[in-house]
Symmetry: C2
Subunit: 459 residues, 2 copies
C-alpha cells in the first residue's frame, strides 16, 4: 500500500470538501492509519474528517490518537459529542483518555454518561497509576458454573460484540470467584450439552488489581498468554488485560529502562512531543549529581599534583587518563547492561551474584589481557615520548598496561554486582547503569593508576 | 501459587520414583512451569519426568525449554522418541528446535517424519535467519471464496484443533492469493448461509516471507494485531505469525539494542548461558576500537603539555578534565538514547533531524546554564586553590564554566544527530550510543577546554 499516494488523494478530497467520496475513501483504511493521517491536519479539517467516521470507527480511531491530538479533538467538540464518544469506547480506552483531560472537562463528560458507566469509570480512575487495575478492561465474557456449551455459545452470540475478547472465557462461581478459563476453541469443538466447568483450565495465571503492570507483562510473556484475568484481594474476577495493551507496557518499560540507563528521569511522553523545559528537568538531577561526583574524582588528580609536575612521566600519565577511564567505563557498562537486562527478563536473579561475579572476573581476565598487551605495545613503540630511551619507556608502558588490566577486572566486577545489590535493597537496577558505573569506575581507575605508578615508576 | 512448596513436593515424588502420583501432580501445572522445574533435574530424572507427560503436553513443555535443556533431552532419547516429539510440535517450534541440533541428528530425525512434514521443515529451514519466514507457522485456518459461515464453522470444528490460532481466518482465492481476514467473532455472530467474503476485512496488514522480524514486530505493535499473515512475492498466503512469538521478537530486538548501546556485539543467547570466551569475544572489538580512539584523545593533552606544566592553572585544568568529559558524555548519551529509542519505536524519522537539533540545542542551553553556574560557584568558592586570590580564581572558574556550557550544547547536538545520520546511511542507529558518543564528545570537550583557556587565561 503506497501511503504517500493515499495521503495525497485524501488531502485533495479534504481540501475540496467532497464528503461522500471522503467517507468512502476512509472506509478503505485501517483505524491506525486514519489516526496517523489526521495528525497532520489542522483543527478544522481534522474535525471534519472525524465527524465523517462511523460511530464505532471514530471511537477506535480516537483511541489510537496521541494525547495532543485527542485534546485537540475534544476541545473542538461540544459536550454531547464527547459523551457519545466515551460511550462508544472500551472502558480501558475511555479511562486512559479521561486521565489526560483537565478535571473540569472530565466532570462534564462524566455527567453526560449513564450512571452505570459513570460509576465504573470512577472506580477505574481510583486504581494506582501503572497498576493492573488501571490498564484492565471489564469487557470480558463470563460464564457461570453449570452453564452448558450450548448456552455459553448463545450467550456469546448475544453479548460477544461488546467484549474486548471472546477467545478466552472465564468461569465464575456464585461469589464471582474465578474458577477457571475456557478457550473458545474448546467450546467450539465440544458437544452442546457438556457443562463448561468440565472443559475449563484450572491452572490459569491471574494477577491482582494492585499488581504493577511490569509484573503483569512478565506473566503474559512467560506463559505466552493472549489475555490475563485480574482479580481483587478476595479472588473475585474484576477484569482482563489483553496482549495488545501488554505489548505497549513492554515497550513502555523498555523505554523507561533506556532512559534510566542514560541518566534521565523516565517520562511517559513521546520524545518529540515533550517540551524543552520538561526534557531539561528530567535530565538535570542525574547530570548535577554525576558532575559533582566527577569534580571530586578530579581532586584525586590534584592530590597527586606534585608527583605529576615533578615526575618526568607526569604528562604521559595524565594523557593516558581519558583512555583508562574510557576502557574502565565501557567494561563496567557492558557487565552492568547484561546484568540489568538479565534481571528485567527474569533470566538472572539476586542469588546468582557469585556465579555472575566469577563469570565477569574471568571475562575481565581475558579482555584485560588483550587490552593491556595492546596498550603496552602502543606506549612502548608508537606513543611514548621518543626522546626517552626504550629503557625509560618500558616502565611507563608497563605501568599503564598494568593499570588497564586491574581497572578492567575491577570494572567488570563492579558492573555486575551493583545492579544485583540495587535489586536486593529494592532499588531499580537500571539506575546502576553506564553513567553511575562510569563515575565509580573513574575513581577506581585513577586510584589504580597512581597506586601502580608509585610501585613501578621512580618518583 | 507457592512454587517452592510445589517444587519440594515434586522433588519428593521424583526421588521416590512414585510415577503415578507424579503424573497426577504434573497435570496440575502449567507447561511453562514444568519446563522450569525440569531444568534443575539431572539427566536421568529429567527424562523420567519427561516420559511421564502426555504426548501433546510433552511437545509443549519441550518448546518452552531453552537450547541446553532440549539438547539434553534429545541426546537421551532414541530416534523414534525424537521423531514422535517433532511430529507433535507446531511447525515453527519444530523448526526452531531443529535449527539448534547438529546436522547429523537433524537428518536422523527428519528421516523418521512423514514425507509431507519433512518437505515443509526443509522449506522452513531455508528461510533467512530472523526473517518472517523463519518464525511463521503454517497451522492457520484458511477459507475459500464462496464458503458459507455454516461450512466454515464445520471446517473449524473438523480441523481447528491442529491450528495455532482459529481466531482469525484467512480467505483465499483459487490461486491461494490472500483476499481478506475474518475474525472468528464475526462468524459466530453471522447467519449460517452468509458467504464469508461478505464478512471479511480487506484492509488487512501482511508481511512477506523475507521481511525482517523487526518489521513484523513493528506492524503487529502499530496495528494491535494478535496474528499477522505472511505471503510470498506473488501475494500467495504461506503462513501466519502469532503475537506470542512477536513478544519474544520485541524483547530480543530490545536486548540487541541494549547490547549494542553498551558497545557489545549482540548475542541471541541468555547471558548466564553464554560461555566466558564468547562473552569476551563479543565485547572485545568495540573496547579495542574505543580504547585506541581514547589514546588519541589523550594526545591532545600531550599537545598542550607545556601550557599545562608552566601555567599556574595547569593542575586545576587537568583536574577538571574528568568532570568535563563526564558531563559531556552524559549529555550526549541522553540525547542519543532518546533519538535511538524514538527511531526504534517509529516516533522519530530522519526528516525530523532539524526539529531534533533545535530541541536539543535549547535543552542544552538550559541544562548547560545550570551546570556551568554550579561549576563556577564550586570552583570559585569551594574547590579553587585557596592559596590563590579571588581575582586569580575567578578567571579559572569562568574558563571551566564556559567550557562546560559549550561542551554540553555540542554534546547534545552530536548526540541527537549521529543516530539519525547512521540511519540515513543504513547503519544501525543503536551503534551511535553512549560509548561512541562519549569518545567523540571527549575529544570535543578537550578541544573546547583548551580553546577557552587560551582565550581567558594568561599563558
Amino acid at each position: 500500500m503506497d501511503f504517500e499516494k493515499i495521503r495525497a488523494r485524501l488531502d485533495k478530497l479534504v481540501a475540496e470538501g467532497r464528503k461522500g467520496e471522503l467517507r468512502g475513501a476512509l472506509s478503505m483504511l485501517n483505524e491506525v492509519d486514519i489516526a496517523e493521517y489526521m495528525e497532520e491536519l489542522d483543527n478544522e479539517k481534522m474535525l471534519m474528517v472525524f465527524r465523517l467516521l462511523p460511530k464505532d470507527i471514530a471511537a477506535d480511531v480516537f483511541s489510537y490518537m496521541d494525547a495532543d491530538q485527542r485534546q485537540r479533538v475534544i476541545e473542538a467538540m461540544d459536550d454531547n459529542e464527547a459523551v457519545r464518544l466515551v460511550d462508544d469506547m472500551f472502558i480501558d480506552d475511555a479511562v486512559d483518555f479521561l486521565e489526560e483531560l483537565p478535571a473540569g472537562v472530565v466532570k462534564r463528560v462524566l455527567k453526560g454518561c449513564d450512571a452505570q458507566k459513570r460509576a465504573l469509570i470512577n472506580q477505574f480512575l481510583r486504581y494506582p497509576e501503572n497498576s493492573a487495575g488501571s490498564i484492565m478492561t471489564i469487557e470480558y465474557m463470563e460464564l457461570h458454573v453449570g452453564t452448558t456449551v450450548g448456552e455459553a455459545m448463545a450467550e456469546i452470540r448475544r453479548t460477544g460484540l461488546d467484549k474486548e475478547t471472546i477467545y478466552t472465557l472465564y468461569v465464575l462461581d456464585a461469589q464471582r470467584k474465578l474458577l477457571g478459563t475456557v478457550a473458545l476453541r474448546k467450546l467450539l469443538l465440544a458437544k452442546d450439552d457438556v457443562k463448561v466447568e468440565t472443559l475449563m483450565n484450572q491452572q490459569f495465571v491471574c494477577v491482582h488489581t494492585t499488581d504493577d503492570q511490569e509484573m503483569v507483562a512478565d506473566a503474559v510473556r512467560k506463559y505466552d498468554l493472549i489475555s490475563i484475568p485480574v482479580v481483587d484481594h478476595e479472588e473475585r474476577m474484576i477484569g482482563i488485560i489483553t496482549i495488545d495493551d501488554i505489548v505497549d507496557v513492554i515497550e513502555e518499560e523498555n523505554t523507561e529502562d533506556f532512559e534510566k540507563m542514560a541518566a534521565m528521569l523516565p517520562s511517559e511522553d513521546e520524545y518529540l512531543k515533550t517540551n524543552v523545559l520538561t526534557l531539561a528537568k528530567n535530565r538535570m538531577p542525574w547530570l548535577l549529581f554525576l558532575m559533582i561526583s566527577a569534580i571530586f574524582t578530579g581532586m584525586i588528580i590534584t592530590h597527586y599534583e606534585d608527583a605529576l609536575k615533578t615526575n618526568a612521566f607526569g604528562v604521559v600519565l595524565t594523557a593516558c587518563i581519558p583512555m583508562l577511564m574510557g576502557a574502565g567505563g565501557n567494561c563496567g557498562s557492558q557487565a552492568s547492561t547484561l546484568t540489568i537486562r538479565g534481571l528485567a527478563l527474569g533470566e538472572v536473579e539476586i542469588k546468582d551474584i557469585f556465579k555472575l561475579l566469577w563469570k565477569e572476573v574471568r571475562v575481565g581476565l581475558i579482555v584485560g589481557a588483550v587490552l593491556s598487551v595492546v596498550t603496552f605495545v602502543l606506549y612502548t613503540f608508537v606513543l611514548g615520548d621518543m626522546e626517552m630511551t626504550l629503557a625509560q619507556r618500558v616502565p611507563i608502558a608497563l605501568t599503564i598496561a598494568a593499570a588497564v588490566y586491574i581497572t578492567v577486572i575491577v570494572a567488570k566486577a563492579i558492573g555486575c554486582t551493583l545492579p544485583l545489590l540495587a535489586k536486593a535493597v529494592h532499588l531499580d537496577p537500571a539506575l546502576m547503569a553506564s553513567p553511575l558505573i562510569t563515575t565509580i569506575v573513574d575513581i577506581c581507575s585513577l586510584l589504580v593508576l597512581f597506586a601502580v605508578a608509585s610501585e613501578l615508576l621512580p618518583v
